[in-house]
């Protein structure tokens, strides 16, 4: 374990710097990538070290430029396309879904499309209907794409490096609320697997499986559950392609209970897939039906009063698990409010972003 502690945001920047240094065919592209704020800090300053031909700005043309990136990818380059919000990547769906995902397959394996797509999920401060969507399931539904959602700084660096070095197109979905999270990150160039879950906390009563930011909420929920005598195991699912069946089975065989928390709508999402996989891999071990925690079936509202109800939090995960186990739900204590609304990751945020 490295002694060095940096933030998730810094880990992402290091991953890109490291790949640019290691491999001359790697380049970054996206609106504002070389700009002064550098995609919330994740590309800040890279243009100074690597130049504006490898740390590229681009026209506001997500669709066309994704095809341009694909064209470079099939001619020896390794593009990293950066979208400040997942919602803007929607403009490039045709190229990602119809072209990049299938390029290797539909031409009989004669070419590869090594591309990494960084897409950032916005949340809070009224990001609203078009600046906060979690669309990972869309991409994970397409054979040929890999989709990962790191939740720790170590994975942020290692999985982004792995994504850039992979010969398939890989969508790295980052949650904006993870950017300030600190953790141990090695200084050297390393990669972490694009598949498999990780046990974040051992427990015996219930498995709480999280994706991305919701893994942190699962860890917080586990602490809440501990106060009422429930010992939760927390799994970080990390990857959607595939959801880790054997990992979930190992945990559920021990706990008999499965709660999964995703940043997206529960319906037709990664939480639904994880629940199905839990049933398929560990049906005999389950003592109750799996439970999904996700967004309700509405677009994201802007008003903080509605957004507060829209986003599930640790207490919601804990309550779901407590109900499942017949625990004392009423004794669970929510974390105290430190801001007027739950619409910022920590009190240092004063908007806008």
């Amino acid at each position: 374990m490295s002694d060095r502690i940096i933030t998730f945001m810094e880990a992402l920047r290091e991953a890109q710097a490291s790949c640019l240094r290691e491999d001359p065919s790697v380049y970054l592209m996206g609106l504002g990538v070389p700009g002064p704020t550098g995609i919330f800090g994740t590309t800040k300053g890279l243009v100074d070290e690597f130049g504006d031909e490898r740390v590229r700005d681009m026209p506001s043309s997500e669709g066309g430029m994704t095809g341009v990136a694909l064209g470079t990818a099939i001619n020896g380059m390794r593009p990293v396309m950066v979208h400040m919000r997942v919602d803007f990547a929607v403009l490039s769906m045709e190229t990602i879904v119809n072209q990049a995902a299938k390029w290797h397959y539909m031409y009989g394996g004669k070419m590869t499309a090594p591309m990494a797509f960084r897409m950032i999920i916005g949340r809070g401060w009224g990001q609203g209907p078009q600046h906060s969507q979690s669309l990972q399931a869309w991409f994970a539904h397409i054979p040929g794409l890999k989709v990962v959602m790191p939740s720790t700084p170590r994975d942020a660096k290692g999985m982004l490096i792995a994504a850039i070095e992979d010969d398939a197109p890989v969508v790295v979905v980052e949650h904006r609320w993870l950017y300030g999270i600190k953790g141990h990150v090695p200084e050297e160039h390393y990669s972490e697997s694009l598949e498999g879950s990780r046990v974040m906390r051992e427990g015996k009563d219930v498995t709480l499986a999280g994706l991305s930011y919701m893994t942190l909420e699962c860890l917080r929920a586990a602490e809440m559950l501990e106060t009422i005598g429930i010992d939760a195991e927390v799994l970080d699912l990390r990857s959607l392609t595939p959801i880790d069946g054997p990992g979930i089975a190992r945990s559920v065989k021990k706990t008999g209970h499965f709660v999964v928390a995703d940043t997206a709508n529960s319906t037709f999402g990664a939480a639904a897939e994880a629940s199905a996989i839990a049933v398929e891999y560990a049906f005999d071990s389950l003592k109750k039906a799996p439970a999904r925690i996700g967004l309700p079936w509405t677009p994201t509202p802007t008003s903080p009063s509605l957004a507060d109800k829209f986003y599930p939090r640790a207490i919601d995960i804990a309550r779901e698990a407590a109900r499942m186990l017949g625990g004392d739900v009423d004794r669970l204590e929510d974390t105290p409010m430190v801001t007027p609304w739950h619409d910022v990751p920590d009190p240092t945020y004063t908007g806008p972003y």
């Binding site: 700005d57 043309s61 009224g126 990001q127 609203g128 802007t302 903080p304 009063s305």
Partner: protein, 341 residues
């Protein structure tokens, strides 16, 4: 209150009543935006908010030619377009405050303003997303025999999206009653034109390739905007087909939010200062005063009236309730036909 008159006879120069009402319109946009800027740090306007200070000229001069029934579509920096079309100020401020009384009932925030009664059809922050929608609206209006035109506002960045070109092409095919208005403020967030569009090509020139007549002018000169928009709109109303106007202008504040951002160094102090010299509100005020059109007394009256209106709008917003949480599920789908809501 009207900010202008519908003008079927195209005058080369606006009459002085029109010019005064345009000045008042621009001043009002400025004062509303300044109030948002001044109060944003109170952290009660909790949504991404794109301030249009410096860009008041285009909507002021364009809207002076619009009837209430004419439709306007906008993008992320929409406050000026909304206000110039005489959409409801109180509901706009309440929407930014996330209140139930907001124009989108707190669902949309600053990025999704709407006032159907005023012909302000909506605004959205995904680039170019409302351009094709506005074209479709105009297509339906033409098929339904409605006597209206559609104005679609967007920035220079949106003209790099495929949907912009596709929508213009279609508008050109069917000679739809659309005025495309590009407010070119030189930056897409922090990215300059020179890495985004070919050197020497003007946005308005793209129109010709799609059968859409285009011209360019100083978006900070309200008389210029009025003249260009008046000519274009009269021709569109006469069935001449779509046109595109490109107005050069400049954003004073950061891309999103109330602050200055020269510290980011993506644009120079010299450039900023030169544009502030061309302040669309102050320059027009000076011009109208020099010509004896705008008196001290009128100016004082405008300022007092607007300050009062703005103050009332903020009071209205802050005294309005937040939407109750059960409203979260309202409007995911329209109510079943015949069902009472």
């Amino acid at each position: 209150m009207s900010n202008g008159v519908s003008n079927s006879n195209v005058a080369a120069i606006a009459d002085n009543d029109t010019r005064l009402s345009m000045y008042r319109c621009a001043l009002r946009i400025r004062m509303v935006e300044q109030e948002i800027v001044d109060r944003y740090s109170e952290q009660e306007m909790r949504c991404p908010t794109h301030i249009c200070i410096g860009q008041e000229g285009a909507p002021t001069g364009v809207s002076a030619h619009l009837k209430r029934d004419d439709a306007v579509f906008s993008a992320h920096r929409s406050h000026g377009h909304y206000l110039a079309k005489n959409a409801d100020l109180k509901e706009m401020i309440a929407e930014i405050y996330g209140r139930e009384t907001g124009c989108a009932r707190g669902k949309g925030g600053s990025q999704h303003l709407i006032d159907l009664d005023a012909g302000f059809m909506g605004s959205a922050p995904i680039l170019a997303s409302t351009i094709s929608v506005g074209v479709g609206y105009a297509w339906a209006a033409k098929q339904r025999g409605e006597d209206k035109i559609v104005v679609i506002y967007f920035g220079d960045g949106a003209t790099e999206e495929g949907a912009f070109h596709e929508a213009m092409n279609f508008a050109g095919v069917f000679k739809l009653p659309v005025l495309f208005v590009c407010e070119n403020n030189l930056y897409s967030v922090h990215s300059k034109m020179d890495i985004r569009q070919p050197e020497g090509r003007r946005v308005c020139d793209v129109g010709a390739a799609h059968g859409v007549a285009g011209s360019i002018g100083d978006g900070n000169n309200i008389d210029t905007v009025w003249e260009m928009a008046g000519k274009a709109i009269a021709e569109i109303r006469a069935g001449g087909g779509p046109q595109i106007l490109e107005f050069m202008t400049y954003r004073w504040k950061e891309h999103c939010g109330p602050n200055e951002d020269l510290n980011l160094n993506y644009r120079s102090q010299e450039e900023f200062d030169a544009w502030v010299e061309k302040d669309p509100v102050a320059v027009y005020e000076e011009c109208l005063r020099a010509e004896g059109v705008l008196s001290d007394e009128a100016l004082t009256t405008y300022r007092t009236e607007i300050a009062d209106e703005v103050s009332q709008a903020f009071d209205f917003a802050k005294n309005s309730p937040f939407p109750p949480t059960d409203q979260l599920f309202d409007f995911v789908y329209p109510a079943a036909k015949g069902a009472a809501k």
